[in-house]
Subunit: 231 residues, 2 copies
């Protein structure tokens, strides 16, 4: 690669403070020379369940879904997450192989660093290690909490939850383009595709949302909150 000759921009990266805090300039420089940025188009697989883990990856921009495949070949979506909330696959420190797949669901950019390099930093630099542990731990907690939250809700509550999740956690706006199919939503919340669609239609009829193909506008966010909580 021509990384060596290019001026390294890692010191300006927003991740510097989030994942790579507590590293001095020369280490950041070294990190820069060891890293690679890789773009993924919507739909491409970033990590494959079962494959060997050799790299530490984090999402720089875009949106991804974590998922695994069931015995019958169905997809089970574990979570959908954006930059700063996703640091590699969680298995990297506990396993040799990926336990889940990761796919880009919007055009994304992933930063890739050899896992060995991160591990050596981890061993050498205690503060860095603590920051990373805390980050990995937070991500895990978030997934567990989300999964448990969804489990408590019924169909209507789950669909409402997903809409709010996109509006508040992912896009921070009441009008957004759904980055996933109806089926993927169903695989995420553990309901059938037909019933997800039916519920969206009900929301539309009740004036809670407006739908233009993939575009969703949340009209009555309060009602949606109530439905999500009550579910």
């Amino acid at each position: 690669m021509n990384e060596q000759t290019k001026y390294c921009v890692c010191e300006n990266c927003e991740f510097r403070e989030i994942v790579f805090a507590h590293l001095d300039e020369s280490t950041i420089q070294e990190l820069c020379n060891n890293k690679e940025e890789h773009p993924y188009r919507k739909g491409e697989i970033i990590n494959h369940e079962g494959e060997k883990i050799t790299d530490f990856k984090y999402l720089k921009s875009g949106l991804v879904k974590l998922f695994r495949r069931t015995a019958t070949g169905e997809e089970q979506v574990i979570t959908i997450t954006r930059p700063f909330e996703f640091v590699s696959n969680m298995s990297i420190f506990s396993d040799e192989r990926y336990r889940y797949s990761v796919a880009s669901i919007e055009d994304s950019v992933v930063c890739i660093v050899r896992l060995d390099f991160i591990k050596s930093l981890f061993i050498k630099n205690g503060s860095f290690a603590m920051g990373l542990l805390s980050k990995v731990s937070k991500i895990n907690d978030k997934i567990i909490t989300q999964t448990l939250d969804i489990r408590l809700k019924n169909l209507v509550g789950r669909v409402a939850y997903v809409l709010l999740y996109f509006a508040k956690e992912i896009y921070n706006t009441r009008v957004f383009d759904l980055p996933v199919s109806r089926k993927e939503i169903a695989d995420f919340i553990g309901m059938s595709t037909a019933n997800v669609i039916r519920t969206l239609s009900d929301f539309k009829k009740d004036g809670i949302i407006r739908v233009f193909g993939k575009t969703i506008e949340i009209v009555d966010i309060n009602k949606l909150e109530i439905l999500s909580k009550r579910g």
Copy 2:
């Protein structure tokens, strides 16, 4: 062997290799002086959701359940776990306060070390840090996998799963005393108490299990495996 004495016996503890690997003799000694063993009777709370985290705890013997309370006051059981599989509450590195409660469901012994002490070790000793990260990460992965697995199953599959979980993961025998109530099983697998009981009765009628109060004997483990998988 495991007699409780005031003299420090940490160097012989089985956890030495599991959580506290990569520590030299003097550090182990220091750990010993900083630790406290605390017995809990069946039913006692070890950690309380929402309380401040000040200690690093791990289960030395016994059995515990992780749970949280829903908005309506119901218990949601996250997992049931035995020694070596539970190192403190998972939130300790990602949060100031416990996200989940932990309760003893069999007489248990918990080892308690000030969290600050663990954190200082973590910062100082990279190999220790790596071991701990790996352990915490594994525990998280296990919880996530279990939750996702359960979600895929129907009522019968879930009840079969729980019985197999106790028989294979917890007790390693086909005859065991259920450490939890029917209601707790229901809260664990996300089904109603009545239906859990009904399913157990069905298993009994079909000769798959035998039940004597709290004691369960698994008669046809293959059938149970099939029911669990097919669910």
